[in-house]
C-alpha cells in the first residue's frame, strides 16, 4: 500500500473520531442557549442535504424522476423500502429513458447510446446518419484510449480501461462494417426491384427494399 493512501486513511479516521469525542468532552454539562441549540440542531440536516445536493441538479431526466419517487418514498416509508424503491426506480427509469441522454459510467464512457435504437428501427432509411454517428463514437473512443495514459488512476485500472476501450472500438468498427454492408445490400435489392419492375410493369411493386434483419444483428453489439 502506498504511504499517502495509508496516511490519508489514518488522518481521516482521526478527524472522524475527533468529531465523535469533542462534543462529549467539551460540551458535557453545559446548558446551551436556545439560539445555539437551534443552530446545532439545524446543522446536521444542512450538511446531509448539501452532500446530496448534486442529485437535485442532475442533468439526467431519469435521475431527477427517480429522485422525486425516492423523495416521496422517504417521506412516508421506513429506510429499507425507501432504499429498494430508490434503487428500483433509478434502475428502471435509466433503463426506459436509457438512450437519452447517454448514461456515462464511472470510466467516463458511454454505456448506453441511442445508436442501438435507431439502428434497429430505421436502418434502411437513415443508414447514413447511423454510420456517421458510429464514426463519431469511434473517434471519441480512440481519443479516450489515447488519454488513458495521462489519467490519474493506477496501472491496473489503466490496463482494464484500455482493454475495455479496445473492445468497444472493435465492436463499433464491426457495427460500421455491418451497416455499410447492409446499405450496399439494400441498394442492390432496390436496383434489382427497379429492373424487375421495368421488365414486368404489370406486376405490383414488391414489398421489399428493407435491409434484411439488420437491426437484430447490430443490436447485440451496443
Amino acid at each position: 500500500m502506498e504511504a499517502t493512501t495509508l496516511l490519508t486513511l489514518v488522518l481521516m479516521a482521526c478527524s472522524t473520531y475527533f468529531t465523535r469525542v469533542i462534543g462529549y468532552l467539551l460540551l458535557r454539562g453545559r446548558t446551551l442557549s436556545p439560539r445555539m441549540q437551534y443552530v446545532m440542531e439545524s446543522l446536521p440536516g444542512c450538511v446531509l442535504i448539501s452532500v446530496i445536493a448534486p442529485a437535485f441538479v442532475s442533468e439526467r431526466p431519469a435521475d431527477l424522476l427517480a429522485l422525486v419517487v425516492t423523495l416521496v418514498a422517504a417521506s412516508r416509508l421506513p429506510i429499507l423500502p425507501t432504499v429498494l424503491i430508490g434503487i428500483a426506480s433509478a434502475g428502471a427509469l435509466r433503463h426506459w429513458l436509457g438512450g437519452w441522454p447517454p448514461v456515462v459510467d464511472v470510466w467516463g464512457m458511454q454505456v448506453s447510446s441511442s445508436t442501438s435504437a435507431s439502428a434497429s428501427g430505421a436502418a434502411s432509411s437513415s443508414g447514413g446518419n447511423d454510420i456517421a454517428a458510429l464514426q463519431r463514437k469511434l473517434k471519441e473512443l480512440q481519443q479516450a484510449l489515447k488519454e488513458v495514459a495521462s489519467e490519474n488512476i493506477d496501472a491496473k485500472a489503466k490496463q482494464q480501461k484500455s482493454k475495455l476501450l479496445q473492445t468497444q472500438i472493435m465492436m463499433v468498427q464491426n457495427q460500421i462494417e455491418a451497416l455499410m454492408r447492409a446499405r450496399q445490400q439494400a441498394q442492390i435489392d432496390k436496383q434489382r426491384e427497379q429492373q424487375q419492375a421495368a421488365e414486368n410493369p404489370s406486376q405490383s411493386p414488391s414489398k421489399g427494399g428493407k435491409a434484411p434483419g439488420l437491426g437484430g444483428v447490430v443490436d447485440v453489439y451496443v
Binding site: 479516521a13 469525542v21 442535504i49 448539501s50 425516492t70 433509478a90 434502475g91
Partner: protein
C-alpha cells in the same frame, strides 16, 4: 440495518473503481466508520490522494457528530471516560438515533451500554463486511450505477433527513444549504459544495435563531 447493505456495496465497489485496493476498503471503513465521509472521500479520491482536502471534508461531513456527542453526553454521565471514549468510536447516525430516545425514555435517563453496544457493534460489523464485499464483488458485478444502486446513497440520506424534519419553518436553513450547495456544485469543481452548503446553512440558522 439492512439499509446499510446496498449503501456499503456501492461504497466498496466505487472505492475499487477509484483505484483503492480491495483490502484498503475495509481498512478505511473499519478505522473511520462514517458513511458520509467515506463516500465524500471516495468521490474526491485521486492517486495519490489530496490528504488535506479529504481530511477536511471528512471533518466537515462528520461535524454533526460533535452535536450528537454533546446531545448524548448528559446520558453518559454514569460511565467513566475510559469506557465512554471507546464507546463513542461506534457512534453513528443510526446508533445515536436509536440510543438517544431509548435513554430519554428510560427511568434512569441514561444510555444503556449493552443496548448501545449491541446496536453499534452490529452496525459496525455489517458496515465493514459489506463494504469489503462491495470491494471484492464490485468489479465482477460491473457498473452498479447502471442498475440504480447509487440511488441507495440518496435514499438513505433522505430518510435520515426525514428523521430530523421538524416542519418547514425550523428547517429553512436546509433549503438555503440545498440551494447554495447545488449552485456551488454546478459552478465550482471539487467538493466545495459541501462546505458552502454547510456554512450557508449555519449562517442562515444563526440569523433565524430565536433571540432569547
Amino acid at each position: 440495518m439492512l439499509g446499510f447493505v446496498p449503501f456499503a456495496l456501492v461504497l466498496g465497489a466505487q472505492a475499487v473503481q477509484k483505484g483503492l485496493a480491495p483490502l484498503e476498503v475495509p481498512l478505511m471503513t473499519g478505522m473511520n466508520f462514517g458513511g458520509g465521509s467515506e463516500f465524500t472521500a471516495i468521490r474526491l479520491w485521486t492517486s495519490p490522494p489530496h490528504v488535506l482536502l479529504i481530511v477536511a471534508m471528512s471533518f466537515l461531513v462528520n461535524c454533526r457528530h460533535i452535536l450528537m456527542g454533546a446531545a448524548l453526553a448528559p446520558y453518559l454521565r454514569h460511565l467513566p471516560r475510559r469506557r465512554a471514549l471507546p464507546a463513542l468510536f461506534l457512534m453513528c447516525d443510526e446508533s445515536w438515533a436509536l440510543a438517544l430516545p431509548d435513554a430519554q425514555r428510560s427511568a434512569a435517563r441514561r444510555v444503556s451500554l449493552p443496548y448501545y453496544m449491541g446496536v453499534s457493534a452490529g452496525l459496525y460489523m455489517a458496515w465493514v463486511s459489506c463494504t469489503a464485499a462491495g470491494a471484492f464483488l464490485g468489479p465482477r458485478i460491473g457498473d452498479l450505477e447502471q442498475y440504480g444502486f447509487d440511488m441507495a446513497f440518496t435514499a438513505v440520506f433522505l430518510v435520515l433527513l426525514r428523521g430530523m424534519w421538524k416542519g418547514i419553518r425550523p428547517c429553512r436553513p436546509w433549503l438555503v444549504s440545498l440551494l447554495t450547495a447545488a449552485l456551488v456544485y454546478k459552478l465550482v469543481p471539487g467538493a466545495w459544495y459541501v462546505a458552502a452548503g454547510a456554512v450557508s446553512g449555519l449562517v442562515c440558522a444563526a440569523l433565524l435563531a430565536p433571540r432569547s
